[in-house]
Structure formats: C-alpha cells, structure tokens
C-alpha cells in the first residue's frame, strides 16, 4: 500500500522518541493499545508548574501510520496547555497525515494516548 509523504517522513525520522521517568511528579504517561491488536503506544508528557506541556516523548509498536500518528502528536502538544492538548481530535491527525480509512484507528489511538497521559498527570497531581 502507498503511504503518504507525511507518514513516510515521520516514520523515517520519528520526532521525540524516548522515555521519561514515569515516577516523576511532572510526568504523565499514557499507554494504549495491545500487542494482540498489533499496536501499542506509550506517550509521555512533562508538564510545567503553569500547566504547559514542556516536553513529550513516545514509543510505539505498530505500523508506520501508528508510529507517524504518535510522532506527530508529540510535536503538536509541546507548548500546549493541558486543556488545549486534551482538545486534540483524531481527525486532525488523520488529515495531517492523509491516513487512508483502514488506518484511521491509528489516529484514534494517538488521541487516546495523549488523553491517557493527561489523565495520568492530573491523577498524580490531584
């Protein structure tokens, strides 16, 4: 199947690959998906005292579209407030990456991942 240039770019040069200490009070971690389904995303955010996302990291097991979706989200959320990041919609991701219908679930997963990371951070910081 043909991949869009955007997907290929993120796949070849994924942004913000890495891992943060999930015990850090400033870090929120979201892990979504399941190996059985063929994709697992771990997305982490580091939040400043002002509630702004300073840094984001990801690791993804999945197809090229899943890797690209998570890579793109880490780029976007940097500098956003938690509320702004929580408003991200999967349709924005799938549009930006020109995902075909069979790959929409990758963008849904990326949206779930950022929401899970925010929820984790909020839970930690009550």
């Amino acid at each position: 199947m043909a991949y869009s240039e955007e997907v290929l770019d993120h796949y070849e040069n994924p942004r913000n690959v890495g891992k943060m200490d999930d015990k850090d009070q400033q870090v929120g971690t979201g892990m979504v998906g399941a190996p059985a389904c063929g994709d697992v995303m771990r997305l982490q955010i580091k939040v400043s005292d002002e509630g702004v996302i300073e840094d984001a990291k990801f690791k993804t097991y999945g197809c090229g579209s899943a890797i690209a979706s998570s890579s793109l989200v880490t780029e976007w959320v940097k500098g956003m407030t938690l509320d702004q990041a929580a408003d991200l919609k999967n349709t924005q991701i799938s549009e930006e990456l020109a995902l075909p219908p069979v790959k929409i679930h990758c963008s849904v997963l990326a949206e779930d991942a950022i929401k899970a990371a925010i929820a984790d951070y909020r839970k930690k910081n009550g």
Binding site: A34, K59, A66
Partner: protein, 404 residues
C-alpha cells in the same frame, strides 16, 4: 544490484527464460497457434502434440501416467475441482470431509462452500511446529468420511507434511485423499506411483512457469471419479471443459521438465542461502523460526522478530520484496491464520516475515537482506515500548492492555 530484491518466491516466481522462449513459439501465425481440439488439420495436430508432450513432462516430475493429468487454470481451480468434484460425486456415500486449519484459502473456502451445501467438515489443528499428523487424521476419520484434503507443503511456513503416512491411512479406510502440492512440486520428490494420493493440485507459476495454468492429478487405479465444475466441449475427458491454452500448457511442461532436471542441485544451493540468512539474523535476540526448522522446503524460512510489528518492518525493508504474516493492511488487523493455528501468541504472529528464495537469488542478495533486516529490527526496537518492557523484565502476558 537491482532493488528491491525479490525474496517472495513462495508467492510467485519469475518465469525461467527457457520457458518464456518455448511459450512464444505457440502464439502467432508462424508458431504453434492451433486449437489442440481441432482434429481436421495440421494446426490442431501440432498443438495437440505439444499439449501431450507437456502433459508427459508434468507427469514425469511426479511419476504418474500422463492420462492422469487434467489441465486447469491453476492450483486454485485444481483444489476446487478436486474437492467439489469428489464431494458432489460421492455425496451419496457420505458427507464428511477432513482438512486442516492451515490449508490454502482455495481449500478452506471451498470447504466452507460445501458446508453451506450440507457437507460437514473437520478442520484439524496442526502441531505447534506446523505439521498435521497422520494420527490426527486417523482420529477424525468417520464412517461417512469421503475425502481428506491436506497440503503437502504449507505456503506460509514451508513445512512438509507426511503425505505418505496419511495416504496409507486413507487408502486403508477407503477414503479419497487430495493433496495441494502447489508449494512442493519441483521442490521435493513426489512419487505418485508409491504415494497413495488420489488427487493432487499443481501450479505452474510457483515453478518458474506462467501464471494462469495448473493441473490436477486424478488417479486412474483405483479410479477416482469427479463431477465436473466447468461444462462445455468435454475437454480433458469431460472433467474440465474449455479450449486448452497451448502456450500456457507448453510453458508449464517446460517448467516442470527443468525442475525435474535441476531440482536436486538447486535445493543444495537454496539450503545454503537459507542457512546464510538464518545465521545472519538469529543472534538479534528474540528471533524465532516459525514452523519446524528441519522438516521444511529449502526455499522458505518464516521468521518472527519479537516486539517489532510486521507492517512497520515491511516498511523498513522496502528494498526487499517479502511478505508479512501480519495482515494489518486488510483492515482486519488479524495476524496470519496459519501462525495463529500453530498456537503462537499474537505479538509473535504480528512480527513475522516470510523469506522465500529461488532460482535467481544470489549470496549477495541474502547478505544485503541480512544487513537491511539488522538495521530495521534495531531501529524499530528502539521505537518499541514492548522492547523496553521486555528489557526491563516486564512479563507482557501479565500486563492489562487497553484493547481497542
């Protein structure tokens, strides 16, 4: 080096130039273009002669009588004709069929269709090494069983079934035995005089012949009856009507003749290439060969690279033409039904790649592939949260995943 490198010979093979040459001689006015069924002139006689020569070439490879070979459009049609043909002809005798869960779709979907028509089908589980045992067949046999259909070599994992032992069983129980040999003909010895196989499907394009042509072996002694699935001019002794495609048939005959002459030398070379690939990747940690390592054809190795998802691996291996056991692109997100039937966990099934070698694969091709695989697997593992967890000693089976 021409990229991408073709390592998908189990899917199809390029035609051998010697085959292509023979075929082109059967097309134009100057060539052997006649209708083999034309009895009234030289054009027909010459075409018929070419078809019968090819029939003998196919029969020679598998040691049977040429009169037992029926031309079809390919192994899919052969499977359909064998299974439906037997089921429909012998339905008064019984309505039970035995096959396995890892057969080709041409067999499985045909069986599904027969189920809709009122037949009952038992789908046997293979062992974890991919082999369907004669014991499992014996256990499934019933009074009303009319047919057993088991593939000789599996298309995904390349393992070889013991069709000799299964044939002894079916013959002793007066049950017909069909074997899909699309992946074994020209790769391993087949002796139909010795084997108690009643029907066998062949394909030309897996053996460096053209696409669109195949054959079905139909045993004469003891005689096997079939109900035709294609009706018309009564070609092929009424079993398969339709004007014979002389050029395709000549191509298949030539391809099978070459296979007979060169198979043994070729296998030695392929075995070395396969070992070279395996030696080049197996130290990557968490790399597994799917299906029995030894009881398989020389041209195939199916490998799982744990914690790396198959489709992304294929993307990274864009310079290699290989296929993945993970069918993520089909929107089903289902990993290969063959690998699942072996009892493999989903992660491993999603991480599998089939490499298949052939006549035109070189050592350089394999070395290039090894290099690409090592780079891709390392890169994708760096990206994989599962690899992190594995390295941290987390038991992935105990994690509660948020399925979607």
């Amino acid at each position: 080096m021409k990229l991408p490198i073709y390592l998908d010979y189990s899917a199809t093979t390029p035609m051998d130039p010697r085959v292509a040459e023979k075929m082109t001689e059967c097309l134009t006015l100057e060539g052997n273009f006649g209708n083999p069924a034309s009895r009234s002139h030289l054009f027909g006689w010459k075409a018929e002669e070419a078809v019968e020569t090819a029939r003998r070439q196919v029969a020679d490879l598998v040691n049977c009588d040429p009169r037992e070979i029926v031309w079809t459009s390919g192994a899919t049609e052969s499977d359909n004709l064998a299974i439906k043909g037997v089921a429909h002809f012998y339905s008064k005798k019984g309505k039970h069929i035995i096959t396995s869960k890892i057969e080709h779709k041409a067999v499985l979907d045909t069986c599904r269709q027969l189920e809709r028509e009122g037949f009952e089908v038992t789908y046997l589980d293979p062992q974890p090494n991919g082999i369907v045992t004669p014991e499992s067949v014996a256990e499934a046999l019933r009074e009303d069983t009319i047919l057993v259909s088991i593939m000789h070599v599996n298309n995904e994992i390349g393992v070889i079934n013991d069709i000799e032992a299964i044939g002894e069983l079916t013959r002793a129980n007066k049950v017909l035995f069909h074997v899909d040999a699309a992946q074994s003909a020209g790769k391993i010895n087949i002796d139909l005089e010795r084997l108690k196989v009643d029907l066998m499907s062949f394909s030309a394009h897996k053996v460096y012949g053209p696409k669109g042509i195949g054959a079905l072996y139909v045993r004469r002694k003891p005689r096997v009856r079939l109900e035709a699935q294609m009706h018309g001019g009564g070609h092929e002794r009424g079993m398969r009507s339709g004007t014979l495609a002389t050029h395709q048939i000549v191509g298949m005959g030539e391809a099978f003749a070459i296979a007979k002459a060169e198979m043994h030398e070729e296998n030695k070379r392929l075995l070395k290439l396969r070992q070279r690939l395996w030696d080049g990747v197996q130290d990557l940690e968490q790399v597994f060969c799917n299906g029995d390592f030894d009881q398989r054809v020389a041209s195939n190795i199916n490998v799982s690279f744990n914690f790396v998802e198959g489709e992304s691996l294929l993307m990274a291996l864009k310079d290699l033409a290989v296929s993945s056991g993970s069918a993520c692109t089909s929107a089903s997100l289902e990993p290969s039904y063959v690998l699942r039937a072996l009892g493999m966990n989903d992660e491993l099934a999603h991480s599998s790649i089939r490499f298949s070698f052939g006549r035109f694969t070189t050592e350089e091709d394999v070395d290039f592939a090894i290099d690409k695989i090592r780079t891709a697997v390392s890169k994708l593992r760096e990206l994989s949260p599962l690899w992190d967890m594995y390295k941290d000693g987390v038991d992935l089976d105990k994690v509660e995943w948020v399925s979607h």
